[in-house]
């Protein structure tokens, strides 16, 4: 065996060490899956072996799960039958270990996720090191997969359906103590005692799993136990509530649990394997794995970084503007160990910004996520000031003042006066073109857009915007900085609203347009949520601020002059902002009313601004509305690709999901187009353009791709290879 090594000691205990050669972390590769199939028969047949302990030969952990490249690659080449046999083969291998007739323990000296944890669950005993950094669990559901290898079957049999649900459906991972409390681990001991503890247990341990005993009952009851029935009935509703039926993985997990719990383990595993193969074949799984797993990892390693530029580290960074955004940036910098100067007009304003950092630190500390020492260190790294002299020595300045060209120009000059010749100046703007802002800079090659998302401590994306004169070196440095503060960078070119804001605004605008078209407002926002967007377009406009949407539309109209076509959308916004002073959530009045006690309700006055013509729905109408809301954004993303605002589909897709919450089940707007196919997408856009207006018109690039049968990702792979 290549990946597992078996040593039998004097007590007859086989120590099975998992150690995939040439890898820093164990994953279940195809070879490991093959090897595992040999272990069960060996344990059963080798009379010298009395019991066994699984452990890892890596210091990085026990096992991070299936090797997705290996497994996906193998499955992509097979039909349903062969796919089933591959997947169920692993289940059978683990089942053979579980039923070998000798006690088997898992000694988890590090993380055990996905297939790694499933291997442990098939053991009769599990002990993990008492270390809060260790995670165990089944995160498959997060990237559109279902837990295989018995995960959907053993977890509910062990802890009941109710407790299993968040672990399986949400992919919630656990620290060892939590897993112990839930009954998924048998013991948690100091790291250096894990192996010994497992061996000691094997000497007296039982070799039959609870579910293989005659008197076994599913904790909390199975599907047709009175309590269990209620659980499944409500469970389906809760699943639809949280996923809107958009995620086949979650639905299939529930189906596998429901069907599997009514069967003996071998048959249950077959049910699970079929759903695994079925799920993997869905476009949602393929797109989600690519964007949320593969592309995220690649961008997280700096995939967009120009080649041949030496690594750079930002040690000292000044943040201009200590508002919510600036303070949030200061916080993430300090967390990453960056010496941070937080500058505002007055000392008082700067101190207030640091106060915000303090609040965030306290919140982390109170939840046990930060030691007092670390908290002190983070706070110590933030220096509030109103004196630009403190900017001196900074490797980078991040400007986060109000979206006002003159103000930005002024602070640029003040900061650059203190900045060394090769210091980088980053502007955190969401709307103002970088090339224009760079005119205020004395070294535009070092000037770049670094667009954060609010709230900075929670949002994982940073959009890096190249100005006309921005150098490759500056781009590389901006990426290095973003990676250092543990965010995912995407790199885009200068354009109105760049990439994320530009596409996101189309979602809001399409919603307001629907209102102007006479769709009932509840219908618009409910369907908006049903597309997989985090909120409906009207409520999101309230959150962004209606007056801001109005100002942006107004500014765009001014900038474009005659080219701007005024429409009913402008009238609705104007009526709200000018006519009724409804600015959105911020003044408690927008499309919704926001009563102090109680949840928001649609403002009845909307009916006067936009009389309702479509008050009831059919599934067909809903499908059409969903298409409008998603395709409007996707066609804008396609325009960004054509114009070169984004050049890499990975940037476009990851940026969309992390940046503005574009429906994750699609894998992003570009994945959505690839999934539908350029020809079908362009045809639908032509139809939508004819019905609703030219904003849906497909790009020439889409038409060319349609003619050649190309996909965005296919093209990107080809150009990378060339």
């Amino acid at each position: 065996m290549e990946t597992f090594k078996i040593e039998v000691d004097a007590d007859g205990i086989a120590l099975i060490t998992f150690d995939v050669p040439g890898k820093s972390m164990n994953t279940l590769t195809l070879q490991a899956m093959k090897d595992l199939a040999e272990i069960g028969p060996r344990l059963k047949d080798d009379a010298a072996i009395k019991g066994a302990v699984f452990t890892s030969g890596k210091t990085t952990g026990f096992c991070a799960g299936a090797d997705l490249n290996d497994v996906m690659g193998a499955l992509a080449k097979t039909d349903a039958k062969a796919g089933f046999e591959l997947v169920n083969g692993l289940s059978n291998a683990l089942r053979a270990i579980e039923t070998c007739g000798k006690p088997v323990a898992a000694a988890l000296n590090g993380l055990a996720l996905g297939g790694g944890f499933e291997l442990a669950l098939a053991c009769h005993y599990r002990v993990a090191a008492d270390d809060n950094k260790i995670q165990v669990g089944l995160p498959e559901g997060k990237i559109g997969l279902i837990p295989g290898a018995g995960g959907t079957q053993r977890v509910p049999r062990m802890i009941g359906v109710m407790a299993a649900a968040p672990l399986l459906l949400e992919g919630k991972t656990l620290r060892p103590q939590e897993a112990l409390g839930m009954g998924l681990l048998n013991a948690v001991v100091p790291a250096d005692q894990v192996l010994e503890n497992a061996k000691t247990w094997v000497k007296t341990g039982g070799a039959v799993q609870p579910w293989d005993k005659k008197d076994f009952k599913i904790p909390g009851g199975g599907p047709y136990h009175p309590q269990g029935a209620q659980m499944f009935m409500v469970g389906s509703a809760m699943l639809r509530k949280s996923t809107y039926g958009n995620y086949p993985a979650q639905i299939n997990i529930l189906k596998a649990v429901y069907e599997g719990l009514q069967l003996p383990m071998e048959a249950a595993l077959r049910i699970e394997s079929r759903y695994f193969v079925k799920t993997l074949a869905t476009p949602q799984a393929k797109a989600m794995i690519r964007t949320l797993f593969v592309s995220m990892q690649e961008l997280g390693k700096g995939a967009a970084r120009p080649a041949g530029i030496a690594p750079w580290e930002a040690k000292k960074v000044s943040v201009l503007g200590a508002g919510m955004m600036g303070a949030g940036i200061a916080y993430v910098q300090a967390m990453a160990g960056i010496d941070t100067v937080l500058v505002d007009v007055t000392q008082e304003a700067a101190d207030k910004g640091k106060g915000h950092v303090e609040d965030l630190v306290k919140k982390q500390a109170s939840r046990g996520r930060m030691t007092p020492e670390k908290a002190e260190k983070v706070l110590g790294a933030v220096h509030p000031t109103s004196d630009y002299h403190h900017v001196k020595g900074s490797d980078l300045v991040v400007e986060a003042v109000f979206e006002n060209r003159e103000l930005k120009a002024k602070v640029t000059a003040l900061a650059e006066a203190e900045l060394s010749a090769d210091g980088v100046f980053g502007s955190n703007t969401s709307t103002l073109p970088i090339t224009g802002l760079a005119e205020a800079s004395v070294r535009p090659a070092n000037f770049i857009g670094i667009h954060f998302f609010s709230p900075v401590d929670k949002m994982g994306l940073v959009e890096i915007i190249k100005g006309a004169k921005t150098s490759d070196e500056t781009i590389a440095r901006a990426i290095d900085y973003v990676l250092k503060i543990k965010k995912t960078p995407i790199v885009v070119n200068d354009s109105r609203g760049f990439y994320t804001s530009r596409c996101f605004m189309t979602f809001l605008q399409e919603g307001v347009q629907m209102l102007a078209d006479g769709y009932a407002p509840a219908l618009i926002d409910n369907v908006g949520r049903m597309t997989g967007m985090p909120r409906g377009p009207l409520e999101m406009t309230d959150d962004v601020a209606v007056d801001l949407a109005y100002k942006i539309a107004d500014q765009t109209a001014k900038d474009l002059g005659d080219a701007y076509v005024r429409g009913p959308l402008d009238d609705v916004l104007k009526a709200l902002v000018v006519g009724h002073e409804r600015f959105g959530r911020k003044n408690g009045k927008g499309f919704y009313d926001y009563p102090e006690n109680g949840s928001k309700t649609l403002w009845p006055g909307l009916a006067e601004i936009a009389p309702v013509k479509i008050a009831s729905s059919t599934p067909e109408l809903v499908a059409e509305m969903k298409m409008r809301l998603l395709y409007r954004q996707a066609v804008e993303a396609a325009r960004c690709m054509e114009e070169g605002v984004v050049t890499d589909p990975r940037d476009a897709d990851v940026g969309a999901i992390l940046g503005w919450g574009f429906a994750p089940w699609t894998g992003g707007p570009i994945s959505l187009i690839d999934t539908v196919g350029a020809a079908a997408f362009a045809a639908e856009c032509d139809r939508l353009a004819k019905t609703y207006g030219p904003r849906f018109a497909p790009t020439q690039q889409l038409r060319d791709m349609a003619a050649k049968g190309e996909t965005f990702y296919g093209k990107a792979a080809k150009s990378k290879a060339a």
Partner: protein, 401 residues
Amino acid sequence: MAEAYIYDAVRTPRGKGRKDGSLHEVTALELASQQLQAIRDRNGLDTSLVDDVIMGCVMPLGEQGGDIARAAVLQADYSQTTSGMQVNRFCASGLESVNIAAAKVLSGEADMAIGGGVESMSRVAIGSDGGAWAIDPNASIKNYFVPQGISADMIATLYGFSRDDVDAYSVESQKRAAKAWSEGRFKKSIVPVKDSLGLTLLDHDEHMRPSTDMQSLAALNPAFAAFGDMGFDAVAIQRYPEMEKVEHVHHAGNSSGIVDGAAMVLVGSAEAGKTAGLKPRARIKGMASIGSEPSIMLTGPSAVTEKLLKKLGMTAGDIDLYELNEAFAAVVLRFMQALDVPHDKMNVNGGAIAMGHPLGATGAMILGTLLDEMERTDKATGLATLCIGGGMGVATVIERV
């Protein structure tokens, strides 16, 4: 052409479907067989003329399981040549059973058959049979399953019935039922339930609350808001996104009562009636069943009524009297709204909100009630229909002969 006639209809009084209900100590078997005996004894019927007995029962498990119809036939000392079949069309099972009996007669398969139903809700609890529809995620997720009470609230929300509307309907139902009882309008059909000593256990519908008024109903909390919060409101809204929220207007006072009871309807051909020396009371003019949107679930009655009337070449206005099971007040309000049926033609003697809804039996009960009222007020044509779980409707049109 063959015709199917109704020769008789009987029902038990309805007992509260609880441990303190008067019929709780009576088995479902006994409830059903006493009604079969009544059919036989009132008509001096040679039971060997009865080819088949079809009984609705919605919770066919435990003592109601294993084809209760055959067990009841034998318990009632019918001829052993009379077969028995249990059917489940949820809330319309009783009417469906009569329709099956009629269909057998019309087809010539049977000359005489009994359709009816039984449900002891106090002894076999509603929902105790499980069922894929609600529990298997394959079915429930795809079809936007919600519990029936949520569906009723969806009807109220989508068709604009306020809490006052549904409560007012229910107050009227109680009033009508009380008046009907005080005037003895149910006399013809009611067969009191006897104990094993032959003493009367119950001779009236004991679920009624004649003193119900708007104030007393206003004190009741919505019954399905908690279900809604668990996630079912979200499911409803995803099916009907025009709803900003689900208005929870239904409660115990404007929904059908949980009761025990049984009912039987004797159906036969003209010839079989002659052989038995019976005079037909009504002709079964037409029958239909339909499927409707399953999430809102309870809008089947108007759909099936339209289907049936079209088949018969009739319009809603041609029907003199309607019986629509009062599963929930909004179901009836929506039916009247959809077909423009005036309230004075609808459930004129009250309904299940006042008297209760013994699931498997109700359809046969309301058909009997309809026939009695047609005879009392000398009306020619009547229609009985019920809303059904899973989104269905069943209807029957009868006319007097």
